[in-house]
């Protein structure tokens, strides 16, 4: 696996450069929106990558709850963190595009709201992981991930109903893309998926290393305190 990693990184970098060229140079300028439409080649692939990562997080959380495999938990951490980064990109690039095209920065549309709520849930997830540093953190975080996954369809449904009750701005539902645009879009979709997967993989390896180091430190201090083994064991879980 370690030998493949640099090769895959190189391929991803090539794809990203080619995707940049495709999006900024090769793809034709959109007739009504102009150059600002090109943000679409980054916005949608980022959203796709973020959703894939959140899905990975849910999957890893369920695997962790069933199997109690620490690697699944490391994957859950990695995918949640990287997913939040990509989701943030989505939430920033969206309004930059929306302002010139819709004339507003933000609207409580189904997709926008669901993405925002998903982002909030995963930020809460990361805050929980940060604020809780006991051995039970992985279980608590995995449970929260499941609650978040149950929540998202309800959010989608409620906003969908809410918005169909009210007038809404015209959505960019332009039908089919021009072939050159579709090409640029698909290249970027592939490039961003690879990019997200590579970053997540690196973060996953980093998390495993971090845990190894922590474990080694713990063992070392246990060995150092070996003279009085009765007091060296951390038995403080129920004393708070």
């Amino acid at each position: 696996m370690k030998r493949i990693f640099p090769i895959l990184c190189f391929v991803t970098a090539l794809l990203l450069v080619y995707g940049l060229y495709q999006a900024l140079v090769a793809a034709p300028t959109e007739r009504t929106m102009g150059d600002v439409q090109r943000i679409f080649y980054y916005h949608v692939p980022s959203a796709w990558t973020a959703f894939c990562l959140f899905f990975t997080n849910l999957f890893a959380s369920i695997v962790y709850l069933v199997r109690r495999n620490p690697k699944a938990d490391a994957l859950a951490v990695a995918s949640a963190e990287v997913g939040v980064v990509f989701c943030t990109i989505v939430l920033i690039t969206g309004p930059i595009w929306a302002r010139p095209v819709w004339g507003i920065w933000w609207t409580w549309d189904v997709r926008l709201t669901t993405t925002l709520v998903l982002w909030l849930i995963y930020v809460a997830y990361l805050v929980l992981r940060r604020f809780s540093d006991t051995a039970q953190t992985p279980v608590l975080a995995a449970v929260l991930a499941i609650f978040g996954a149950l929540d998202v369809p309800l959010v989608y449904f409620s906003i969908w109903f809410f918005r169909t009750q009210h007038p809404q701005p015209v959505m960019g539902n332009g039908g089919s893309l021009a072939p050159a645009m579709l090409h640029a879009f698909l290249i970027n979709l592939l490039a961003f998926s690879c990019f997200g997967a590579m970053v997540c993989w690196s973060r996953f390896c980093l998390e495993l290393l971090k845990r190894e180091v922590e474990e080694a430190h713990a063992m070392e201090s246990l060995a150092g305190a070996g003279a009085s083994p009765k007091t060296s064991l951390p038995l403080s879980r129920s004393s708070r």
């Binding site: 909030l120 929980l128 929540d151 809410f162």
Partner: protein, 225 residues
């Protein structure tokens, strides 16, 4: 099944008795939401028509904040003298503990709502145009929606650092659809603006989904070590 209910009942009665003697949570909640009502009515000075539109949001935000005040105290009581550890090693089903806590909180928050609603009506000159009796199911379902997840997340954040701040951080994002349901249903019923059926069904769905999830996962949380 029998033992589940009898244990739930025993814990519930114990909690209510404790609360009745100390009145810590109830007094804090009542005074807190009174303050919220007063501050809101200073901040917005609406006409009767405007207040029908915004009162749903104000009422539920006030109740939400007050609920968090109560929820933070729910489990803290069980940490003293290692009561929770005793629960953990006892053969009692974890869900009876959870149900008792959730029902207890439901009763406290419902009491709070019963006291605060007249105050809201007075301060905001509210008079419902729609079918006001439908506010009762909205209130019951909405309160349960807040309380069931709140009790669960209070247990979840029990052993984290600064748990008082953790609870709203976890509870609010998950509660967004429920809050939207309560606020919209209340607004529609007060303003007589169509039917609130969808929002009641949404609240019911939310309650069923998350009650099931809480009951399914509470044992995992309680025994997480």
């Amino acid at each position: 099944m029998n033992s589940l209910w009898s244990l739930t009942w025993a814990t519930l009665v114990k909690d209510i008795r404790l609360e009745w003697r100390s009145k810590d949570a109830l007094n804090a909640m009542l005074f807190f939401s009174l303050l919220v009502v007063v501050i809101f009515s200073f901040s917005f000075d609406p006409s009767a028509e405007e207040s029908r539109q915004i009162a749903g949001g104000l009422v539920w935000v006030a109740f939400l904040f007050a609920t968090v005040v109560a929820l933070n105290q729910t489990w803290a009581r069980e940490l003293r003298n290692h009561v929770l550890d005793a629960y953990r090693v006892s053969p009692a089903p974890p869900n009876s503990l959870f149900l008792a806590k959730a029902l207890g909180n439901f009763i406290f928050v419902a009491l709070l709502e019963a006291v605060m609603t007249p105050l809201f009506i007075v301060f905001y000159n509210l008079r419902a145009i729609g079918p006001a009796w439908e506010l009762i199911p909205v209130g019951i379902l909405g309160t349960w929606a807040l309380v069931v997840n709140g009790t669960f997340f209070a247990a979840l954040s029990l052993r984290t650092r600064s748990r008082e701040i953790m609870l709203p951080l976890l509870l609010f994002p998950i509660s967004i659809p429920a809050i939207q349901g309560m606020v919209e249903a209340t607004r529609i019923l007060l303003a007589g603006d169509g039917s609130a059926r969808f929002w009641i069904v949404l609240l019911l769905t939310y309650d069923v989904v998350f009650t099931t999830a809480c009951l399914g996962l509470f044992g995992t949380i309680l025994h997480a070590e």
